[in-house]
Amino acid sequence: MQPAFDESTVTAGTGRWRRFSSALSLLMLGILAAFCLDGLIFRIGPYPKFLEPDSAAGEFELILQREKEAQAQYGDNLVATLGDSRLGYYPRVSAQISGRTGIMLRNAGMAGTNARVWYYMMRDLDPTARRYRAVVIGISDYDDEDGYFDDADNLADLHYLIARLRLSDIPEFAASYRTAAARFEVFRGALFKGLTYQTDLLQFLSHPRKRIDYVKLARSGYPVWTWDYVDSKRNLVGLQIDWATLKVTDPPDADAVQRDSVRSFLAHPAVRQTGNLAAYRREWYGKIIDRYRGSRTKIIFIRLPRGAIPRPANLVHKLSSSVRELASRPNVIIDDEHAFESLEHPELFKDGLHLNDEGDTRFSILMSEEVSRLLIQAGALRKPRPDGL
């Protein structure tokens, strides 16, 4: 029996590298073919038009489409608002008083989103960065309080933005995630969009006819559904929080969602302050501001009504206020942080942090008036005549 890997029997190593380079070329060409196929279907193909309307990407696309159509419908007084679900207001109420405010508020925000998503929303909604009189960014606190979750590592952003991400966006978008694991996942999912669309695609393949019909319905109905939307009339009257012990006394008829939202978003202990939120805000609000540098569009930060009973400022020692830092840039306006404190009452909230119908209505009026006032003050809007003309 001869020894293993014997020099006398083993084929000489000539052409070894050629063999390996041929095999590697095959592998690379295979990956390239998969990439092309993915791009053909999900990047330049029609698939993004058939996204599930109730999915993150699907709703993002509907909002984008709705607001693009609104640009054509309305004149020169459009103001885009950006925010998450806490930015609860009725654009139709704002429209009713547009005669006296001189502006028309349109909501380009979306529940669950944050600054990174808003940047891409505005990039594709307003490619010339000149269409809006102002972009209003609603946030819950001008100070930077790190929470349980690090927004920079929010993988949901990939799903909101997947239809919007271009090849050239991938390096910057992936690099904006903090951890290596998240960066890799986002890079992979943005490069091969099929990975991110997978659940949507499998549902589509199961019931294609149903999906196409629903997409048609949603595309035609979404602007009206959202315009006519009326929020819940529930409230939190009776809610009490002992901030020393974080003990909550719930309203007698509170449901699970209400109880949970109060504990998760209001009566929670402070977490370690890392400065991550500040870095994230500086990066993405900074990008939004940079897009509008030299444009007529003002960037306005407003502090939203913070909750049914707002968290006392002394619960956490906040390390910075990135928004106040950004306000020193040209074109940026920061609203009085107390402007909407009058709404921070349990009877105006449907749960711990979302306004109810009455709250939305009042906030719509207050915000329209406040934004109008700020724009007039900045010389970006002529004072409307009392007759609304």
Partner: protein, 472 residues
């Protein structure tokens, strides 16, 4: 380190680089060290067990030829078998036996229970060791002189944890006549790895979700539609899972210049249970045939003796999969089906019942026979997958007596299943894989691209679902 993780491919890239940049005389050390590292990444303690068995069987292989045929020679063989089966029995079957004995003795079933962790791949490397020692004993295999070579045979990482069970003669032929893999081999290796990943991540793992959701909540999923959905999903999961693992193992071995035999040959196209076992887990079924069925007498005796041998072989084959009555029943069920097939008048050899492109009665009846075989196999999988006998009976009752219920498989699952059936039929009739391997590089790249795209849109990427056969 599991084949369907990035960690494994990083490991593979490092080992390939080390292997091909090392001088020839060091390459087996590279492979040996890499294999122990691979095994140790699960549980380093069991490397000792692996080494112990390696030393015992290596020594047995050296000693056996020193004795003339007779009691001494046999004693060495028996010592080796006792050591191998002793370790396997202790780690795999002790608790099963202990719980049954406890129940018989009227004690709680955990009265003699020991907290034993099953060493990964023990069933596979034990069978590989046994085949080597028995082959040396029979004079069919020359003993390996160098312990490093023997150790590498036992622990070579692509096949260490879940096979295929490689025969010594095949492995040592590759080792002692090693040639650097040609472009064709490397290309095949890459394709096999790609195919294996698709089978595992795009097919097996998707069907696993359905199977797990059914078998995890049998009591809540009443009706024959969910029961058949669950059984079908598991039937597809286990095939794609194990075949996927094997394809990756074969592909990885090819990159190092080793050639493993095929372990699956489109088993769900089988036209009979006999045919099924010639296509399913071929390395195990041929091992059982060569080292159990034939030594028991095979089909050389009376009809009754043949049935007994079949039953014994399949019962032990079932038990090899796991220490539970369910696996025994699964083995017995297949043994009984094989025996019934043998007893049928006009029984033909598997070669004759393979699908043929002709209009003979044999060919026309093929779809019905294949469907019947598939359904019989699916029924068997219920015992294999269910948590215990009671659950198996509950599932079978639902399959045959339940009300309709709601299906668990979505239309796209059925699309995947039918698509894979089409690919399998295409391969069976036209041998597409071989044709593809002969095609120009751009065609091969396009095919590889399609496979990878399939992985993108169907693959379960975020969760590395373990391979089913790792538990055996």
């Amino acid at each position: 380190m599991v084949f369907n993780t990035i960690g494994f491919f990083e490991f593979l890239a490092v080992v390939l680089a080390l292997f091909y940049t090392s001088p020839l005389r060091l390459r087996r050390y590279v492979l040996l060290f890499a294999s122990y590292y691979f095994y140790g990444s699960w549980n380093a303690k069991f490397i000792v067990l692996l080494l112990t068995l390696t030393v015992i069987d290596y020594t047995a292989g050296i000693w056996i030829p020193r004795f003339a045929p007779g009691p001494k020679r046999k004693a060495v063989l028996i010592l080796s078998l006792v050591a191998n089966l002793g370790f396997l029995g202790f780690f795999k079957y002790y608790n099963f036996l202990a719980s049954n004995l406890a129940v018989l003795a009227g004690k709680p079933d955990n009265a003699f229970y020991l907290n034993i962790v099953l060493p990964l791949g023990i069933s596979f490397h034990t069978f590989q060791s046994i085949s080597y020692v028995v082959d040396v004993y029979r004079g069919e295999q020359e003993p390996v002189r160098d312990p490093i070579d023997y150790a590498l045979y036992i622990c070579f990482f692509p096949q260490l944890v879940a096979g295929p069970i490689v025969r010594a003669r095949n492995f040592f032929h590759d080792l002692f006549h090693w040639t650097a893999p040609a472009v064709d081999d490397l290309s095949r290796g890459i394709f096999m790895i790609g195919l294996g990943l698709v089978k595992k991540m795009a097919f097996a793992d998707q069907f696993a979700k359905v199977a797990n959701s059914y078998f995890g909540h049998v009591a809540e999923r009443q009706g024959w539609l969910p029961a058949w959905s669950g059984a079908l999903a598991f039937g597809l999961q286990i095939y794609f899972d194990f075949a996927g693992y094997t394809d990756i193992a074969i592909g990885v071995a090819k990159l190092f210049g080793f050639h493993f035999p095929p372990n699956f040959r489109r088993p769900y196209l089988a036209a009979s249970i006999t045919d099924f076992w010639r296509r399913w887990h071929i390395s195990l079924s041929s091992w059982l045939r060569d080292y159990l069925y034939i030594p028991l007498g095979g089909n050389r005796g009376s009809q009754l003796a043949t049935y007994r041998n079949l039953m014994l072989t399949m019962l032990l084959g079932g038990l090899w999969h796991g220490a539970s009555w369910n696996f025994m029943i699964w083995g017995g069920y297949h043994g009984a089906l094989l025996s019934v097939e043998r007893s049928l008048p006009g029984r033909q050899k598997a070669d004759d019942i393979s699908p043929r492109p002709s209009w003979s009665a044999q060919s026309l009846s093929y779809p019905f026979r294949a469907l019947l075989t598939f359904l019989l196999v699916l029924v068997g999988w219920v015992f294999f997958r269910a948590a215990n006998l009671t659950e198996s009976v509950a599932v079978l009752r639902q399959m045959f007596h339940g009300h309709k219920g709601l299906p668990l498989l979505e239309p796209w699952h059925m699309g995947l299943a039918l698509g894979s059936l089409a690919v399998a039929l295409f391969e069976e009739k036209l041998d597409w894989f071989e044709r593809l391997m002969d095609a120009p590089v751009l065609v091969r790249a396009a095919a590889l691209g399609c496979m990878l795209f399939c992985l993108v849109v169907f693959g379960v990427i975020d969760t590395a679902i373990p391979f089913v056969y790792f538990q055996f």
